[in-house]
Symmetry: C2
Subunit: 338 residues, 2 copies
């Protein structure tokens, strides 16, 4: 493979981060792996830019920034989006970066299955389809004989899925326990260090852009629960779906509970737990000198294995370029094997 | 490849751990990857056991335990060792687990080059040849068109080399900073928590088997410096050798220095630093709430990247089965590509 034609579907923070990452790294990738990356189509929810000769990453970012629509890209604008776009263009790999939808998993599910039907590889950052339809997706991928990589769906830049599947390939993994949501970790850390209430700290996080205007997905543990399901399926081989996870968020965690814990040498953290008999997200006490006592928006996961004992990994759980870096590493692992 | 014939050279803690790991995992590997592992020869420094039909892992471990020589294996004993053994047997992959020799890199260097000359892949836990002759080894490996994997040489079970080369393949890595030696971390941690002198704590560590009778390699920073060189070459692409590392160990760290640091919110840790202009091992102050404030024999490394910001990984830096797990994961990555 000398050239790899990419379609990016979803052009929010992650999709734009991916375009930036391609811009930064395409020469390096060409030199090291002998493959030129070419973005042939990009769509947001209402428009697209399509060009078989390749779209310029800088122009894509500029068009989106100025008009809010990637379809304002000069001379390449189109109304085609979604599966219609995939049917219309010639591509090698789908970069699926649409927003997570934990009710229907759409449009990610349809887009992914369409790409598989085309015999194309998919790299995704989406959690919805993986949390709701993991088994169906993997079966479709196997039937199509293509690659499906989703490191970015759990923990952003924190390498955990490929780490377990590849670097720890010799090990049986019995459990994963971790801080899988940066927003809630930020809120709990600030409540602990500043002695502020949940409501005030959430407001602060929203003001800083760390929490969304509707923070439900994060603070109620939904986001972390999706990640628990993805790890259960992809690493522990458990056939689980979102409804199998016991979920409790942080909206009822009081300052009093945090301060009481602190006096006794503990912090309150939103912990995701993955093991054969336990899929759970809940506020838990962690010792102040344990690895789980991390501040800010970091993510962390400890993997318990049979041969290697415990392995812990930590990294930025969100961020446009950080999440895109995991997608680009997934892309490289695909093109290396072509 | 239906069957993979292994030669294990070096049958100390790591070599024996590898045999145990094969015993535990060969059925799993056969089922998952369709490849049967067969150990056809094992040598320690003065004897060997050789059998083209395969040696039984339990019998290998028993023979070594009872007589101290693997050559006491019933009906398969031999005087052949080293490169002579490699010339005499039919094998696919060399598992190189001889002791690290930082003066001459032997026998690891000759064994590895011999295997390359045979067109065979090598998995090693050895640091000496990688720290002294990295470039020569990689050139020989490239010329032979074989695989050469050495995750176990740095940080035992802690995944760091493959993590950087594969999981972070999209990222430029500017530096690695870490606790790369478990023995010195144990000694410094105990001096800090117990208020004991360096000499007494070293004695304790020797009594527990954490430090060796001659602790020089660990306490003088030599072991950590080897790892710094290996990371510099394999991850940062710096053409460095052992003599390029500025090394200071912990034998001059006083209890007074540790206690003074503690009062100010710091711990003293032996830190390895790897960047373009800085290859160094030295006792450093780390903040008590930083990721470097880990106790016991754990290893930890923080990788600074351009796209993914900082990624940190932690795991057991030593241990027979733990180190073997890294070698077995390396072996799996080779057989997967066959």
């Amino acid at each position: 493979m000398d050239e790899c034609k990419l379609v990016i579907l979803g052009f929010g923070a992650v999709g734009q981060g991916f375009a930036r990452a391609v811009l930064m790294k395409k020469e390096f990738i060409k030199e090291k792996y002998g493959v030129g990356l070419k973005i042939v189509a990009v769509a947001d929810s209402s428009s697209s830019a399509i060009c078989a000769d390749g779209l310029a990453e800088e122009e894509l970012l500029k068009s989106k920034a100025i008009s809010g629509k990637v379809g304002s890209y000069p001379d390449c604008g189109s109304d085609l989006t979604g599966t219609d776009l995939l049917d219309a263009v010639d591509y090698d790999i789908l970069i699926e970066a649409t927003p997570t939808n934990i009710q229907t998993a759409e449009p990610a599910k349809s887009l992914t299955l369409k790409a598989f039907a085309h015999g194309k590889d998919v790299v995704t950052s989406n959690k919805g389809h993986l949390a709701l339809f993991y088994k169906e997706l993997i079966e479709a991928k196997e039937a199509a004989g293509v690659e499906f990589k989703f490191e970015a769906s759990v923990g952003g830049a924190m390498p955990i899925i490929n780490l377990c599947q590849e670097n720890l390939a010799s090990c049986g993994i019995s459990s994963i326990k971790g801080i899988l949501n940066g927003t809630t970790n930020y809120i709990l850390s600030r409540m602990t260090s500043e002695g502020t209430s949940y409501e005030n700290t959430l407001n602060e996080a929203q003001h800083l852009g760390i929490a969304e205007t509707d923070p439900t997905q994060d603070v109620e543990g939904i986001d972390a629960a999706c990640k628990v399901v993805i790890l259960a399926n992809s690493v522990l081989g458990i056939d689980a779906t979102y409804s199998d996870v016991e979920v409790r968020g942080i909206s009822n965690v009081t300052l009093e509970a945090i301060e009481l814990a602190k006096e006794e040498g503990y912090y309150v953290k939103l912990i995701g737990e993955v093991s054969k008999n336990n899929l759970k997200v809940s506020p838990r006490l962690v010792k102040q000198n344990s690895q789980f006592a991390i501040d800010g928006t970091l993510n962390l996961a400890t993997v318990t294995t049979d041969l290697a004992d415990e392995i812990t990994v930590m990294g930025k759980g969100a961020g446009s370029l950080e999440t895109a870096s995991a997608m680009l590493s997934d892309l490289i692992s695909i093109i290396k094997n072509k």
